[in-house]
Symmetry: C2
Subunit: 598 residues, 2 copies
């Protein structure tokens, strides 16, 4: 099992040196988020995740959750760790002070989320889901609902879920069947079955607050007839205390490829009491408010997995002696050289490193945009931030989770046959992280969201704010010789991106299937280019620091070298995706469904 | 769990129509391998794998093997299935008639191996390992050893293993420590520990014949001091019957990511009686004889995984209703369209299909080269076949297993969240097939074998026989308009391949690390190009059949359309790999080992 160490130095580089979080927080009025406070919180989170959360990752996978008569028991140590998590005040960090939160910025919480997810993907999901439920009630609930439900969710003594999927409908929520019938007292009775409810039932908290989408009889068909409800496991008094058990039951839990310590539940609503949130039939709109934040959370899991796998692989590569370097013996006193001398091992390690660090920068940047959405008083700044966030969120979600999966596969590969053995913990990372390519919208769905809904849907307008930022950066560095190895490729790939987008748009007017045919390759191209921009920015910061003179020279040199690796060995993959986009839909649509197999 | 159906129609297409196995077998003197016989054997293998082997795949994964006091119990049904396998005469198929085999060609056995591996990767490994042990004894054993050990291995009542790896040495076998001391009677006493011994202990057979590499005290250090031994679990009389227990014990079994129904054992030799095979200190050379055949077997697993995952994903994509086609409703009577209408689902299915079918053709071609090596009487033909096989085996092994893994990941993805649930069987395929990228030499090792040992080691000579074949095919079809969409890219990518090879060779003379830095990208490029050649050949056969007129028009049209998909949507990936090769070693070697992390 690789020992997890929070990458504190790199987080500080990203937050403070790359993204100047101090200025960012002060401008937005987050006065408590001083540099000292940020440092202290990250250090504490590092300790907590390293010492409390990481040690129950492997045992949690082995043991899994168990279901007995509707009750779910989490693996040994989870209850105690969750208790410590609540006592440490972690759930309150970025929550509203009116409900007992600390009112710190979202982006600080996001930085910490990566640590939890690297240390223990399954554990990190419990608070993650609560956050979605809480945010939904805060944005769309009535004052009474907020007072009833939010304080305990903020505190962490209650947890939450999002109940969307049913057996016959995942992506296509318009097909849902769970029904909500109005009671005389203004509440609703919910009846139906939801599946894939993460953290749907467990023994960590005193109550579980389900946010459920359902159909009120007589509503329009499809997605325009969906309403949103709060359905607590235990009913709640007006004062916000639990009372009797509601008719919500966990029918079973799934046996899965990974995230075994997080209970994925079938939840049955048998006339359960529920409370409408927001307006009738506007449920999907309420959900969409938080889609970006939830997807950013999953994107973070991709980075977290790449980081955890990198740490394991790096330690092994320095320790494992096997074969001699082709360019001459490096460890003459040992029976062989450490495998980190071999170029192909380095290729895998540097792929992991460049994705983890580049992805970390992208996520931190997006989290700052979320801060602006929450706290800025300038409407123009907010609109710009929202456009960037809307564009980059599906890219981050799909690209970073796909690359996260690839990185965990490299982690197994660096270990050779040992990587396949559970004991080393490397294969668990691969099994756990595959879910991130699936939930909160698969890679294919993110790609459609990006290309169809966001880019073509806005006739390209949505590209402008981020496009201008990238162009500005390139122009600012146009005269800097040391930056040309990064600036030139961005300009070239960026120009092609624009042409590709226009071309797909034109083709889509003739044949809408061109969108779906291009979408994933288009998204991956966009992802490689976006990360190139962040690597170029990081290289720039590092070059400036080295020019200024600093104690930390090796760190900044490593940044520049890793940026170079990214541009030389990762970015070129975008070419293959461009050619696939160029080649269009025809070869994909030509086969009749009956002719795929004979 | 996807129901497995052997792809009989496609196997016949490859063997008979693409590779004219009838003529091939008759020329080599395999008189029994008539078309009727080939058909009958494939049909029987289809029935057996579908009805006996596939049904215990998922239960085998769930249950796994269990170790108790040195004894290993395979999952329910494995013993009975193996018994049926032996009674059906399957192990004897391609074995020497002198030892009770049926003397049928290796390539026929390879075709069947794919079915076993698709149906149940873990099960298929038991006979697979036996074959390696048997072949080693047949090639290098004494007459007495052959008579003692081979008949029971052919029959299948005994099984075999290959014991190479030790805890501190995998790739670097020169470091091995297991020692073999000469006894007075000419036998040896072996002492040491081997790990990762697949099928090292189990309850399927009456005896287990371990082929073990060990060092005789006083031998040269490194790989020149390794000798090869037969070490049976039960000692064997001169007449080839089992007698008393040998001092070989299974210390434990590994808990793994996948192939849970195949026991991966720690085997302890505590002064176990062993018999030298071949000459002292020539053990590694003996092992290398079969490396190509064993690697071809693993390459087949990649194809088998892609095929099995394709079958599951295709059935689901036709059945699952979700969302409407962007180009208009396709299933007006249903609540949504089947997801096979969506272009991105087709992208994943066609990727699986083009890799499974293209890979099948490559494997079948390589298996015919093995036939030629076994049975041809023409030395020139043999030499040509061996050169092609040496070149293409590492490509097939690494490329097809990496793509096999990708295809199983697509299979999970087509199922959405359901793909992550064990019940559907899609995630098992992904877990099981990851091992194929690791054992028999990782992807990185195959790539070094290809580029360093084979291509640069032969100064490019090894490329000629296969290169000439491809050129000949391109020239033959240079005037055929309908073939230009396939011929032109092969010529173009092929030309770049040649230049890339020369350039890497030149750079490697300055810096040997250039080889390792280029190797995996070079291999992947080679893989995409090689498969393009086989897809072009298949398209040609299909076009000819359609010109001639045939009953099976849809089948041949599908071949051409799948070829087109491969050329338009898969082959372009090679561009990204070429750019990575071009960019060289510098960015990979620049970081000190201590500067990967701070």
């Amino acid at each position: 099992m690789p020992e997890y160490k929070a990458p504190i130095r790199d987080i500080k580089f990203v937050m403070q040196e790359l993204l100047d979080c101090d200025n960012h927080y002060q401008k937005l009025g987050y006065e408590d988020a001083s540099l000292d406070m940020v440092d202290a919180i990250i250090s504490e989170a590092a300790k907590f995740t390293e010492q409390v959360i990481a040690p129950i990752n492997q045992s949690g996978d082995e043991q899994g959750c168990t279901w007995t008569n509707g009750e779910v028991t989490t693996p040994d140590g989870f209850k105690e760790a969750y208790q410590q998590y609540v006592e440490g005040g972690w759930p309150t960090l970025a929550q509203n002070v009116d409900f007992g939160g600390q009112g710190l910025p979202h982006s600080l919480n996001t930085a910490i989320t990566e640590l939890f997810s690297s240390a223990n993907h399954s554990f990190a999901m419990y608070p993650g889901l609560s956050h979605g439920a809480l945010a939904t009630i805060e944005a769309h609930g009535s004052e009474q609902q907020k007072n009833q439900f939010i304080p305990k969710l903020v505190e962490g003594s209650w947890t939450g879920t999002m109940c969307l999927t049913e057996p016959h409908c995942g992506t296509d929520l318009g097909m849902l069947r769970t029904k909500a019938e109005l009671n005389d007292d203004g509440s609703y009775s919910l009846t139906g079955t939801k599946i894939f409810i993460s953290a749907g039932e467990h023994d960590l908290s005193d109550n579980i607050v389900h946010i459920v989408i359902a159909r009120i009889p007589g509503s329009p068909e499809g997605s325009k007839g969906i309403s949103l409800f709060i359905v607590p496991k235990f009913n709640v008094t007006n004062e916000g205390e639990t009372s009797d058990r509601n008719a919500v039951n966990c029918g079973s839990i799934e046996h899965k490829m990974g995230i075994n310590a997080n209970a994925t539940c079938v939840i049955n609503f048998d006339g359960a009491k529920g409370y409408l949130i927001g307006e009738v039939n506007r449920g999907l709109n309420c959900m969409f408010t938080f889609m970006n934040v939830a997807r950013l959370g999953v994107a973070t899991e991709g980075v977290a997995a790449a980081e955890a796998s990198f740490q394991g692989a790096l330690a092994y590569a320095k320790d494992r002696l096997q074969m001699r370097s082709l360019s001459g013996v490096k460890n003459p006193d040992g029976p062989a050289d450490a495998i980190i001398v071999h170029p192909d091992v380095r290729r895998m390690l540097l792929t992991q490193k460049s994705i983890a660090e580049g992805g970390r920068a992208l996520i931190a940047y997006l989290a700052q945009l979320v801060d602006i959405g929450h706290a800025s008083t300038c409407e123009e700044e907010k609109a710009t931030a929202e456009a960037k966030l809307a564009l980059l969120t599906p890219i981050a979600k799909a690209f970073l989770t796909e690359l996260g999966l690839e990185c965990t596969s490299h982690g197994v590969q660096v270990f050779g046959g040992h990587g396949f053995i559970k004991e080393w913990g490397m294969e668990q990372l691969m099994r756990d992280t595959k879910i991130s390519c699936l939930y909160e919208g698969t890679t294919g769905i993110q790609a459609l969201d990006l290309l169809a809904r966001k880019i073509l849907g806005s006739k390209g307008k949505i590209l402008k704010p981020f496009g201008s930022e990238v162009t500005k950066f390139c122009l600012e560095n146009a005269e800097d010789d040391a930056m040309q190895e990064f600036i030139q490729p961005i300009m070239s790939f960026g120009g092609d991106w624009q042409k590709m987008t226009e071309k797909v748009g034109e083709k889509a007017m003739q044949n809408p299937d061109e969108i779906g045919a291009a979408s994933v390759d288009y998204l991956m191209y966009s992802g490689y280019l976006t990360l190139a921009y962040f690597w170029a920015k990081m290289a720039k910061v590092a070059q400036d620091k080295l020019k200024e003179g600093c104690d930390d020279e090796a760190f900044y040199q490593a940044k520049i070298k890793t940026a170079r690796f990214y541009f030389q060995r990762i970015l070129p993959r975008a070419n293959g995706h461009a050619a696939c986009v160029e080649n269009g839909a025809e070869s994909m649509m030509a086969l009749d469904a009956d002719d795929f197999s004979f």
